[in-house]
């Protein structure tokens, strides 16, 4: 594995990939377990804006628990501990998902709106995971998650800083978490911010996301 891997998304990108992304499987690669916990917190808070979120540990699931769910349609299944365990456990688990990939996809596709599965992993376990499950990796949307909004170019860097300032201001003022603030805006429910605050936030996030008009 290369050592110069840089983030290509942040928590909100994972939420959006899970909700409206290109593939029913998302592998979210976090730098360490604490970042993974933060991501799961974000998904639990922000992703319900788009769909029902079900967080299930590996130990309580038969291939992501989809089997036991009579109505998987449109749901987002989050597996927070997909990379936990010793090497044999990891190989066994990912090997099983690999061998049953099409079966898993069929169950996610189900009837109606497809369900999505987010496998949260840590970077240090990726060599074992990618060797045990190349076919999962080949199909999934793999996102290396950074703590901050992702800037693709130097031009974005200022916007990212402005975004973070506006975000912190709102967090401080409302007592909500960052994910809750983001979810409120996504729902069109921006609390009781004054017009100036609202305009500033929308301008920053709009520019960051390149929203026009």
């Amino acid at each position: 594995m290369t050592t110069d891997i840089v983030p290509t998304g942040w928590a909100d990108d994972v939420a959006r990939a899970a909700a409206r992304g290109a593939c029913p499987l998302v592998v979210a690669v976090c730098s360490d377990p604490s970042e993974a916990r933060r991501l799961v917190g974000w998904l639990e808070t922000a992703a319900p804006t788009f769909a029902t979120v079900r967080v299930s540990n590996v130990s309580s699931m038969d291939v992501a628990g989809i089997d036991g769910d009579s109505q998987p349609s449109g749901k987002i299944y989050v597996v927070p501990d997909a990379a936990e365990g010793d090497e044999p456990q990891l190989r066994e688990r990912w090997g099983a998902w690999e061998a049953g990939r099409d079966d898993l996809l069929r169950r996610l596709a189900g009837a109606g709106r497809p369900a999505r599965l987010v496998l949260v992993v840590t970077r240090g376990r990726m060599p074992e995971i990618s060797s045990a499950a190349p076919a999962i990796m080949a199909l999934a949307e793999v996102i290396t998650v950074g703590e901050e909004p992702f800037a693709t170019s130097a031009d974005d860097a200022e916007l990212v800083a402005a975004f973070r300032m506006a975000e912190e201001e709102l967090v401080e003022r409302t007592g909500l978490t960052k994910a809750e603030v983001s979810a409120r805006f996504e729902r069109g429910d921006p609390l009781s911010f004054d017009d100036a605050t609202l305009a500033r936030w929308l301008a920053v996030i709009g520019a960051l996301r390149h929203v026009q008009g």
Partner: protein, 408 residues
């Protein structure tokens, strides 16, 4: 025009799903014809279907299933419901026979067709051999036989897929006690399917290319004779790297025919035309304002796809998803570039320094093991050259990663 249309495009290019109804495009080498011809010679023709991940094998097999349905009983069991990391050919044969039998019996029941006695008996015998009916209390019927089963408690009767998923270790233990008998009984079920339906059986095993190195060698090199007595035609997919192994010659003798599906070199006009047609059939209009990329050919998408169908769809799907995330109603160059990086991201984890070093070498100097690894990861791509031979090239998305590495 708007986000709604982009969302609808996104659904039509889902790389994990088969083509939507009516969107199939015949590849230039007419693989379906090759498979159909290879299956013709005799009632037990065997075809090994080899190709890299993502080149369209499953799509071709689904197409073949439809195409042969008039003349054959085509069985395409969902073999990945079976854990092939531990199960072997005999379990696969038994699973396929029971799955096929269940499919035929259900169809007969839905038509009120009662001519199913022989098939039911054959599949019951096989079922008992692998002890997959112990969830019910059985009792002798009027003949003193045990063909009748009565459920006394518990969850609904599982179908074949659920039985194998629930009970695989027990089934494997039963198979190990008498694999030849189990195979004979599975063969009897297949013959009964053929007799009942009045058409020969074709079995399609799709997904064997995902076997790990060790399991593939074990099954294709050491145990392949276990399928020789299967009384039907068979197409089985296989990992592409098998064709670089010393035992491949022997394997092809057992299988008879090998059909290869390779990526299409996008620089070839016929390939470029095919890739464009795939996009058109999916309902995407590059000239209609949804893609701000100067047309499909000029967008760079065909070149970056490497002629691998799944990669083509991924590039477009990731670009559309990125545009939607960015709040746009058309795919811009920036959304495409971000989507392209996303499509390449997995190789950052799958390839190490040794792999990149190997990729930079001339193919004649590559070690067979590493070449096999790079092919199975899609970092190297197989193309047909003008003379019908093989050319290997680095995947264009991986090439971009290599450039980035050399710059950093």
């Amino acid at each position: 025009m708007g986000r709604g249309e982009l969302e609808s495009f996104l659904r039509r290019v889902d790389p994990s799903a088969p083509p939507p109804e009516g969107a199939y495009v015949e590849p230039p080498l007419r693989i379906g014809d090759q498979l159909a011809v290879a299956l013709q010679p005799h009632s037990t023709s065997r075809v090994l279907f080899v190709g890299q991940p993502g080149v369209g094998k499953s799509t071709e097999l689904a197409r073949l299933e439809q195409r042969l349905a008039d003349r054959f009983v085509v069985l395409r069991p969902p073999i990945d419901a079976l854990n092939l990391r531990t199960a072997g050919w005999t379990e696969l044969v038994a699973f396929s026979a029971l799955w096929g039998s269940e499919k035929v019996l259900r169809a007969a029941a839905s038509k009120g067709d009662l001519r199913v006695g022989e098939l039911m008996s054959a599949s019951s015998r096989l079922g008992r051999s692998i002890q997959e009916t112990q969830w019910v209390a059985d009792r002798p019927d009027d003949d003193g036989d045990h063909d009748e089963y009565v459920q006394v408690a518990g969850p609904p009767r599982p179908d074949v897929v659920q039985r194998f998923r629930n009970d695989l270790p027990r089934i494997m233990a039963a198979v190990a006690a008498g694999p030849a008998q189990v195979r004979d009984q599975a063969a009897a079920v297949m013959r009964e399917v053929e007799a009942r339906e009045g058409k020969p059986v074709v079995l399609l095993w799709d997904g064997l290319e995902r076997l790990s190195w060790g399991r593939a060698v074990e099954m294709f090199e050491k145990q392949v004779l276990d399928v020789k007595d299967l009384p039907c035609r068979l197409v089985a997919t296989a990992p592409v790297w098998l064709s670089f192994q010393t035992f491949f010659g022997e394997l092809t003798e057992n299988f008879g025919e090998v059909v290869r599906l390779r990526a299409l070199d996008p620089s070839e006009p016929s390939s470029a035309e095919f890739l464009a047609d795939v996009i058109v059939q999916r309902g995407l209009d590059f000239e209609g304002g949804h893609f701000d990329l100067d047309g499909f050919a000029e967008s760079g998408i065909p070149a970056y796809s490497g002629g691998i169908l799944r990669q083509l769809l991924q590039l477009i799907a990731f670009a559309i998803a990125q545009a939607l995330t960015d709040g746009q109603d058309s795919v811009t160059r920036e959304a495409f570039e971000r989507g392209r990086r996303r499509a390449a991201e997995r190789w950052q984890y799958q390839l190490g320094p040794a792999d990149f070093h190997e990729l930079s070498k001339d193919d004649r100097k590559r070690s067979p093991e590493l070449r096999a690894r790079l092919l199975s990861l899609g970092a190297l791509v197989e193309y047909e050259d003008a003379g019908g031979g093989l050319t290997l090239k680095t995947n264009p998305l991986v090439e971009e990663l290599m450039k980035r590495r050399s710059r950093s």
